[in-house]
Symmetry: C2
Subunit: 418 residues, 2 copies
Amino acid sequence: MTYDTLLYAHSGGVTAVINATAAAVIDAARRQGGRVGRVLAAHRGIGGVLREDLIDTAALDTAALERLARTPGGAFGSCRFDLPRDDGGVVMDRLFAVFDAHRVGWLLYNGGNGSMDAVARLQAEARRRGHPLVCVGVPKTVDNDIVGTDCCPGFGSAAKYVATSMLEAGLDIASMVGAKGSVFVMEVMGRNTGWLAAATALAAGGDPDRAPHIVLVPEASFDEAAFLARVQAVTERLGHCTVTVSEGIRGADGGPLMEKSRDARGYVQLGGAGLAVARLIHERLGYKFHWAIPDYMQRSAGHWLSATDREQAQAVGLAAVDYALAGQGGMMPGIRRLQAEPYAWEIEAVDTALIANLERKLPSEFIAADGLHVTAAACEYIRPLIMGEVTQSVRAGLPDYRPCGWAKVAVRLPPWAG
Amino acid sequence: MTYDTLLYAHSGGVTAVINATAAAVIDAARRQGGRVGRVLAAHRGIGGVLREDLIDTAALDTAALERLARTPGGAFGSCRFDLPRDDGGVVMDRLFAVFDAHRVGWLLYNGGNGSMDAVARLQAEARRRGHPLVCVGVPKTVDNDIVGTDCCPGFGSAAKYVATSMLEAGLDIASMVGAKGSVFVMEVMGRNTGWLAAATALAAGGDPDRAPHIVLVPEASFDEAAFLARVQAVTERLGHCTVTVSEGIRGADGGPLMEKSRDARGYVQLGGAGLAVARLIHERLGYKFHWAIPDYMQRSAGHWLSATDREQAQAVGLAAVDYALAGQGGMMPGIRRLQAEPYAWEIEAVDTALIANLERKLPSEFIAADGLHVTAAACEYIRPLIMGEVTQSVRAGLPDYRPCGWAKVAVRLPPWAG
């Protein structure tokens, strides 16, 4: 029995360019001189593998792949699922049963830190079983927190979007200065790391009078007094103040600053850190406040992609197929920065066993000494990643994203009871 | 003394294309064969007129005007200020003193419903005084609620932005369907009218399975039971549900649905309607929720303008100068729809005295009978307004918005004590 099926799966939160990776994987797999028999995609991630819910990508022609490559979100679906360690091997057995049933010789697993742990463990399990499976990781995350790679596909586009949003909202609030002072707070993604918050600093271009005036990241503990003093100083100087808040900022006690409040029924609700910060300013300083939470919008803005990010998303897909076919199991294509200006990069193989579950935080030299902004070094690092635009196909005034039709693969195993 | 100064002022919330109107006004005024001596702009709206805080636009060359025309926010500033009716004429006297001091013969006032009231009153006052001032209104508002015009400059771009955002976020959440069901709520602007909420329906393209699945507008009172039943039905069918909420939706009692909650200090805070709706769903149905509030981002997204909207923003600016020079005081250029498909429109003069302070709401034929969505007729009305894209100049990966330098006009009057 030949294991000539390549299986591709998404894991965790999707990005604006994750489908560009998927399209690159499918395209590259088709160009292997017939070595790859079928290219399947798991429907809704590893859960789809467990359920034997698999998509045959053969029906996607060149035009469909091209459309796929410029559509945000994960066209094949994704899920959040950690490979259990304490289930007596039940999940692992099922996964390998599905691999066997569909002759999966190559598994490409697209995800973040947790997914790279899964890649390392699946490859180790295959070796232990003497199974031919080659499992390769493909990096992606808007959080930019994977170790072993200079940056992560998905981050550059989200960074470009949040920086543009802060630039534009900053022009808006600067127009509306009133007698009382007003504040605009934007909460961006980043539970443990401040990479996206740092990206908004690109909007200021180093000018202390331009938005954002303050950037709060989880790596610096939130100093309420210093923060309020800065808000007041900026507002007294300019009439307004703009603040970027990472969703995961923490107080001096290390606990998250998410707002805790009670609704009419006395039910405790977690609000966002951005709202908590906006309300704090209003309460203490009396300023008017507006706040924005782009939420999913920041990681799905296909209408305003970074061309650099998209190129890297495609490159890791192509490289992952190469690694798989070369038998480089347990590896992940990382991005290595060769030089900053002009930006040059290359793909290099990274051993997932060495990086799994680690988390890359903002280094201290990227954070201002007072913890209220990021440094020029942070901006220099991020700038190349947002460069270049992608002209989207438009239909009736909106980006022409069209779901691609697909055929499901016939099931061969009993249903998964897990 | 010749009243050959044209004075231009912004009022109220700004838009992504309000500067395009400003640039068109300045350009048109310069082409009047020398009839217009100076073109001034009020710094921060009518408040700038009262403070005699005026900008001389002569320093803006063609390149600067071109940059101005593609920069969101109000480059000259704006403010919220209602002409008082009970101050014994103190404000009116001061305004006319400033007009006299700077020989203002034409005042172009760019704003919404309240501003058109000011235009009508200023023109009536000029007639009463035998003053040569010709005051002309220029429409703008992302809320699209000015009476007498088929649509309002600023709305089309905001509509394109929120529809695109819902389209993209809808693809994201559809990728992440889990076992429990998940909901995405986006709160858009619209205190009293649901035009922007209705615009998000363009993302679905008439497909009931695509985002947004529910659209809540202030014109339909919020029926909690019917709403929750629909959320449940959609989530059971698709695994997820997306909801657009106008910030100003109202309950059966007519009161706003803004969330009321108490913070740790027992301080009552108003949250957004979107958050209130998201929490309601979570509490009653147990679904995971994400919510987004684009806030200022939706009215300042210069990176994703509607070309139609920008063209109309320029056209009302040009027409307003024509009206002013022709002595058509108290008028506002409105947009008349000639046909829907292909879209054709023209500018027509509207008497501000007949429309001042009125508010155009969504007509009942634009709202679904159950109050949980908008109709195909609403989409047909909005679609032409989001058509066309504007290629922005980009610098270092971000839109190249650069503040234009300007010269202030020397003051000639004692300071304003108001």
